[in-house]
Every structure is written in structure tokens, then in C-alpha cells.
Amino acid sequence: MNRLGLILLGVFYIVSIIMVVNSGAVGTGILGREKRITFAHWQLEDGFREGYEDAIKEYERIKAEQGIKVKVVQTTVPVRGYAQWFLTQLIGGDCADVIELSGNDDIRNQYFTPLSQYLGDPNPYNKGTPLEGMPWRDTFADDMITALSQQYSEYFGVSTFVMTTRMYVNVDLYEKAMGHRRMPETLQEWLDACRKIQEYGQKVNRPLIPIGVRGFDKGTIGQILNHYNDQINASYNDSISDYGYGTSNYEIYQRIADKDPRVDLDRFLQPVEITTAIGRYFAKGFSAIDLEQTKFLFNSGNVAFFIDGTWNAFSMVNNSNFEVDVIPIPSIGKKPGMISVPGIREGAKYNYLGRMTEVGGGLGGLFGIPKSTKHPELALDFLHFITSYRISQLTMIRHSKWLSPLKKVDYAEAFNDEIGKMCHCRNNSVKNLSPAEKKEQVGLLQKCRPYEGSGYSNITTINSIGSKTMKDNILTLESMIIEQPENPKQIFWNTIVSRTPDAIREIDETIITEKRTHWNNDGIRTAFTIGALMDKKTYENRIRLTMEGMVGRVKMLDDLLEVPSNLKKLEEIK
């Protein structure tokens, strides 16, 4: 027996040595014949890993046809420890070859390959697709504005998915309460539905919750406030700033402080009034309920409406014991104009601009190439591959049921046979779909897709001044939702004014940070100047990128220096 044990020990030891050497950081297989790259991220959601496993198989097949033996290894790390793991991998110099970005711009600049030099060329894997010939940067829905590092005027990663916010509806509960299945489209219809659901709960003696809210991190309050703020005030982007389209909160405060007649403070406070009124239908004790509890409540069938990101859409719809619909957060009205909403304030009218343009926003999942990679060309090639049209359809749409970050993507096409041939997994909800299932899944994704909208884009809310002060202002809104005062706008604004000293203190620190950033940027400029001594063309361009980015930073500092004096001029509403 001892001899047997010894033999087994020896065999397993040899096998483990082979496995360790084979998957070691050498970058090639044990016989040195294949190139090995690692692909790492923290996305543990359904379908994401499976989608990339299929993409990896496809990539290895394509490379084999080109005579290059490649092995791609996918690694996932849970999100809670990801940031720390990410940093230690970079510092250790043994990072994955293509990795999901974390950390701040300084870390990315230090450890990641700048991608600007590659973004002007077309993605070779887009041949035969609607994106053929387009510069890689232009294939993304936002022209890679989200991926741009403002501090370094450089791109260190490319996006792999898009997220939007929608409302999930317990259709069974809704139908029982309302007597019909037509979903609310306007704020008035939504409030009426919430009231009827409450009445139905009383009737059947169940603690039903009209609107499930993640109050713990104040996320839902912020989402509702932003949503209605955009619909009411986005037109100020056309007029408030003298410098161009769009306005910063500093400019809004300057106009209010100067009593500029073009700016109506009451209009800026209307979203507060609307959010407070909607808050009547939040779950009792919502401020202590976190996201997991809210989802639990929704899945238990006691919540009618739940606002969350579309990354959950497929699992919410398919894993519930009741029918779930996905709808946008209701607009103020059906057509743009002055809308009154009974049940909020008698006689009040709200300026409804239409549904906001979501296109070009919500991009996430940045993946980059660390400088320490042993196969930079292969890593870049793989990055091209996973951000190509067809592979995005495979991984994001077909498998994950998420949204693609690319332009012109046909969602129905993602469920056809061409993409189906790349599905090697055994999951029937991906591989063998009936026409009805395909139609259902495409329908769901279309509901999650960014809206074209009426041609207005987001505007900052009135409470967005100083990050700590902004959080305190949201807490004020939360208190008002609980207490339901008569005059929420007045209370909210007067609380903002009373917090002016705190806001000024925060602005002072932001000014110091901004000055430090100017110093850092000059350090970057100097680094590129030194680089230009070796490679004039590449680095001179980067110097220009840095200096062009500096123009915005100089303006931001100038604006910041004026903010404290503007804040001191704010007056309470009597």
C-alpha cells in the first residue's frame, strides 16, 4: 500500500508540474509551439463568460487557419476583490494580456498601452459588416468619448457593452390591480397605477409595494430625480452656457446667483417636487432596504415596479414566477409641451421636452492591454476581435442578452444561423432557439436599447455641487419623501443654501486637486517632450493631445475659482 501511495504521489506530482509549467507565465505552451494569452474580467453575470468562451474558440479557430497556434485563457475574479487583484497583478508584472480596466487614470497611464495610435485604423474583423472600413474609434456608439481619459487625453481601453435604465413590471400583479395590461406611459398613469396597487393591497390584505426602491445607496431616488430633471430642464443646455452646448452646475449656480432672468429656479426645482410625490409609493422603510432585498421583494411578487439597469433584464424576465415586462420610466407626458399632473400639485404645469436621447451613452466594460504583456500584437488583435461586429453580437446579444456598444448593430441578426454556428455551449436558451423564443429575446433587447429621443441630452441636477454636499442633499430629498411636506421645493432649496459653507469647503479642495492635476499634466507633457527626442512623430502628436485637453482644464479651474463667490450670493426662497 505504501508503494502504491508513493507511485500515485509521484504520478500526481509530475502531472501537477506539467500543468503548472504549461499554464505558467512563460506565455507559450509547454512545448513552446502555441502562443498563450489571458483574458481577465469580473463579469460573473449569466452568459458573459459563456459568450466569451465561444468567442475564444472562434478566435483560436481563425488563428489556426492563419497558421498561428493560439490559446486564450479566460479568468474571472469576483468584483469585491477585483480592484485589489487588478492592482497587484499590474505591480507584479504578470497581468493578463487583455484585462477589464479598474483603478484611476494614473494607474491606467502607468501600466496600460495607449491605444490612440491604433484607433484611427479600421478594425480588420469588421470586414463584410456595416462597420467595414470605419476607423476603430468610430465604430463605437459614443465615438469613444466615455473611454477617453480626460487627464491624459488618451484611451487605455475600449468598451464592450452598453447599459440603460428601465423599469421592471410585475404584470400579473399589475393586471390584478388595474384590471388591464396596458403599461403606464405617462407620470399621471404611473401614479394612478401606484395608487390602485396600494388599494388592491388593502383589499387582499397584503403588504404590496407599488415601487421597489434601493434606498440604501439612494440609487433609485437619484435615478428618478435625474430622469425628470432631464425631461424638464434639458433645453437649458441650448442656452445657459455662453461657451457652447451643455452646461455645468457651476454655470447654473452663477446664473441663479446673478438672478439671470433666462433661468427659472422654480423649473430647476420641479423634479424635486415630482420625485417627492412619486416617493409616496415607495416601500415603507425604503431607506434601509438595499438592492438585494429589493430584488428579493420583487421576485416574491410583492412589488409592482422596480427600477434597475438592463444588465438584469433577461434574468428578471425569465427567472420570475410571474410575467415581467420591461418599460421605460414613464415620461411626464405623451407629447412635448406644458403638462399638468394632478396628484402632484394643484394647478402646477411641467415643461415636458420629450424622451431624452440615450444613444451614445451608457458604455462600459473597458478592456485594455497592459504594457507588460508578452504578446502585444496578439493582445491587440484579440481586442479588435472581441469588439468586432459579429463577435459583439455573439457575446453581448446572443449570450449575455446585453447591449452592444457598436453602431448599426442588428439585434435580430444576432440570433441567426451565422452567429449560431459560433455557439458551442450547451445552453439551449442560446444555441437552439425556436423562432418564437428568438422573437421574444429580440423584443426584450429592443426594449432595453438606447432611445433615439427628441434630440435633448442630459443636464445636471440642481443639487450637484460638491460630492459630499450632493449626498447630503439627496438625504434631504429622502427625508422629504418620508415626511411629504407641503412645499418640498422651498425646503430643498433652502437646505442647499444652508449648506453653502460645506459646499465652499469642498470646492476649495477641488480647486487644490485641480491645481495638482495641472502639475501632473505638465509632467505628462514633459514626458512626451522627452519621448519626442526619440520618436518625434508619435510623441509630438501626444503633446498636442495633452495641450488640447489642457484648454478644458484651464477653463474648469477658472470656473471653479468663481464658484465660492457665486454660492455666497444664493438666497433662500421665502
Binding site: G285, S287, A288, D290, Q293, L297, N302, K468, T513
Partner: protein, 300 residues
């Protein structure tokens, strides 16, 4: 046992001192240096990164004028008093366990008390959070089943200002955590049998034995637990954060100094101010430990 060693003889013992020097260096580097660094930053406006400005006593003055911080010490005092009361049940449990006649049964009970120790505290907190959930939670469900609440009513255990503190105090009921019970049990088991025999001979009843013999003889353990509990309660904030969030619940009613440090330093970037609050906690802890040592005497 410590022995005086002359300097001459040190050359024979230098390997020992060298060995001690290494962990001592690590303690100095990873324990004392951060404390020193924190103490220095009390006098700075510091955001942990780009802003580091010497402001003298500015943070201390702010601490002394901060009424919400003073309130948080009031809250933590309530928790300390409640935790003192909560120490009673583990003592009683330990005494009961000690008097179990059947050895095997006693062993089984001890194991049953130890097993829950392997469950992470976080899991316990999350379970209690669901317990308190106002809409579908266990507690409100029980109250509805007993007709104390109607089907649609709910009590907001963690959102109602009046109920947050009692809910946090009640958490963990019946508060017979294995650690305390086992420490007291170890103390009780060290009482010699002849003491019990002598007490029986003198006609002492169970209560007399408890108050006159057992309680005084485990006073050392009680004192240790009291000190540890006081320090732990003064510093604890994680369970409050998990229960009611970083703001300490409705109107910050459950904010304790530890949560204030976390919020001010890590959420709001006021690291210097956080260091000042930490210093105040240190002073208060030291004072309470002194009081404990002076007034909780162990009369052997």
C-alpha cells in the same frame, strides 16, 4: 520568567534579541507608525492624496464644536450600557452548562454552542437584516400572524428613528455567543470541587453559591470581557453600516464615532478630521479602561 541580565552577558543572548527584533520592527512599522502618522495628520487638512495643508488645531476645534459627534458618543454609550446588560445571559448560560450532570450531554451542549462560531458575522448580520425587513421580514410576519399588525401595515424597524437603536441592541438575541460562554465556563470549571462541597455543608442554596462563590471567582473573566466589550463597542461600526448605511440611519440617529470616521475619511475625503475623531476615541477608550480597572475589582 524574566531575569535580570547584565550587559556583558548579552553577547550570549544576542540571537534571541535578534529574533525578537524582527517582529518588533514589523510591529513598529505596521502598528505604531500608522498610529504616529495618524496623530501627525490630526493637524492637517488632508484628503489622502493631493491636499495636505497644515491647519494647526483646526480639526480639534472642529471636533469639539461638532454636536453630531458628541451625539454619536452618546449613542455608543447607550450601546455600551446595553452590552453590559447583555453580558448577563452568557454568564447564566455558562453556569447552567457548568451544572449539567451528564458529561456527555454537557459536551454536546458545548459543541452546539461552538458550531455557530464558524458562521461569519456578516452572514448573521444579513440574516438579521432580513428579519427586520419591514415589508416581508420575519419579525413583521410574526406580528401579522399574531394579529398585532394588519396585513398591510408594517413597522419600519430600521427606518423609524425611534426604533433603530432598540433594533440594533436587540440584534443577536439571545446574545449567548460562544466566546463569552466558553470563557466563563472555563473560569467556572477552574473552581475546585471542595469549595462546592464546603458550601453544601454550610447549607448554601444555588443562588447563594452563584452570588457568593461562582460570581466572585469568575470576576477576572468578567472584567476581561468587560474591557474587551467596551473597547469593541467603542470601535465597532461595521454592523451599523451594514444595517442602516453609511449615514447612520434616519437623521443619522445610529451614528457612532467609528462610522463617523469611516464616513468622514473614506466617503468624504476628510482624512485629517477622521484622524482627529480617532484620537478622541482613543482618549475615551483609555479613560473607560482606567475606570474599569479602578472600580471593577477582583476580590480573591
Amino acid at each position: 520568567m524574566a531575569v535580570d541580565v547584565s550587559v556583558k552577558k548579552l553577547r550570549y543572548y544576542w540571537p534571541v534579541y535578534l529574533l525578537i527584533a524582527v517582529p518588533l520592527l514589523l510591529v513598529l512599522l505596521f502598528s505604531y507608525y500608522p498610529i504616529y502618522n495618524g496623530f501627525v495628520h490630526i493637524f492637517y487638512r488632508w484628503n489622502g492624496d493631493t491636499v495636505e495643508e497644515f491647519i494647526g488645531l483646526g480639526n480639534i476645534i472642529r471636533v469639539l464644536n461638532d454636536t453630531t459627534l458628541l451625539n454619536s458618543f452618546g449613542v455608543v454609550l447607550i450601546f455600551v450600557i446595553a452590552n453590559v446588560v447583555k453580558m448577563v445571559l452568557p454568564i447564566i448560560t455558562a453556569v447552567i452548562l457548568h451544572h449539567v450532570i451528564n458529561d456527555r450531554a454537557g459536551y454536546v451542549y458545548r459543541v452546539l454552542f461552538v458550531i455557530p462560531m464558524i458562521i461569519p458575522a456578516m452572514v448573521g448580520i444579513l440574516i438579521w437584516k432580513y428579519f427586520y425587513e419591514p415589508n416581508n421580514g420575519v419579525l413583521n410576519g410574526i406580528l401579522r400572524a399574531c394579529n398585532f399588525l394588519s396585513g398591510t401595515d408594517s413597522i419600519q424597524w430600521l427606518s423609524d428613528e425611534r426604533l433603530v437603536l432598540p433594533a440594533l441592541i436587540f440584534m443577536g438575541f439571545p446574545w449567548v455567543g460562544a466566546f463569552g460562554v466558553l470563557i466563563y465556563l472555563a473560569g467556572l470549571q477552574s473552581i475546585p470541587e471542595d469549595v462546592y462541597e464546603a458550601a453544601e455543608v454550610d447549607g448554601a442554596g444555588p443562588l447563594t453559591i452563584f452570588f457568593k462563590i461562582e460570581l466572585p471567582l469568575i470576576m477576572t473573566q468578567i472584567r476581561i470581557n468587560l474591557v474587551l466589550m467596551t473597547i469593541g463597542t467603542l470601535q465597532a461600526w461595521e454592523h451599523i453600516y451594514l444595517f442602516v448605511g453609511i449615514n447612520g440611519g434616519p437623521n443619522g440617529i445610529a451614528t457612532v464615532p467609528g462610522l463617523r470616521i469611516f464616513r468622514d475619511a473614506f466617503a468624504e475625503g476628510l482624512f485629517g478630521y477622521g484622524c482627529a475623531i480617532g484620537f478622541v476615541i482613543f482618549v475615551v477608550t483609555l479613560a473607560l479602561t482606567f475606570v474599569n480597572n479602578k472600580f471593577v475589582k477582583v476580590d480573591k
